[in-house]
């Protein structure tokens, strides 16, 4: 096992744990992005540039964007609901 692989594996394990333990979804999205990044470096170290590239575009572009858009939607709905509640009072 090369040193780069060892470092990446440890980084992946830490980032994965952090993703699970971060309960705030917005911060968790960041942790998950870091996990994706660590994974793609790991895949390069495993001699898999194709997988690394697709991991970067999925975990670095597609998934975070979907999560952030979904969270933005969820937050605005919450805020609208709060506003409606305030008006009713």
């Amino acid at each position: 096992m090369t040193a780069l692989q060892t470092v990446c594996l440890l980084a992946v394990a830490v980032a994965g744990t952090a993703t699970v333990l971060t309960r705030d979804p917005l911060r968790q999205a960041v942790a998950s992005g870091l996990l994706g990044l660590a994974l793609s470096v790991l895949f390069l170290a495993f001699g898999a540039p194709d997988v690394a590239l697709s991991q970067i575009v999925v975990a670095g572009v597609a998934v975070p964007v979907m999560v952030l858009l979904a969270l933005a939607k969820i937050r605005t709905v919450d805020r609208a609901a709060a506003r409606d509640d305030a008006e009713e009072l």
Partner: protein, 112 residues
């Protein structure tokens, strides 16, 4: 061996997250962590000590290379994860819009 253990750890950690999750978006990302364990496991199984990437662009044809089959499988796997995340997030957005909550424990219109 460390690589295999990291794969096991990711699977367990992700599943723990799913079991204890209080937010659907969190739950979806924990499923993602579970899924990454399969990438690590597959690629670790295919790694050949000192092997080159399986692309014969500028390496001689009898260079030892890592296993390309697991890489093809992992590519499929990555796509699967992205699609499942998309569908689950779409459902989550709708669920929140309808019920005003993202707590998975609030689910259960039909019980018993």
């Amino acid at each position: 061996m460390l690589a295999y253990l990291v794969a096991v750890w990711l699977l367990l950690a992700g599943l723990y997250g799913v079991i204890t999750s209080r937010h659907l978006v969190h739950l979806v990302l924990c499923l993602g962590v579970m899924q990454t364990s399969t990438y690590v496991l597959l690629l670790a199984i295919g790694w050949r000590a000192g092997g080159a990437a399986p692309i014969f662009a500028d390496i001689p044809r009898n260079t030892p290379i890592v296993d390309p089959v697991v890489q093809a499988l992992t590519l499929t796997d990555v796509v699967v994860e992205a699609t499942v995340v998309a569908v689950l997030l779409a459902l989550t957005v709708q669920a929140h819009k309808r019920f005003g909550t993202c707590d998975p424990d609030a689910l259960g219109a039909l019980r018993g």
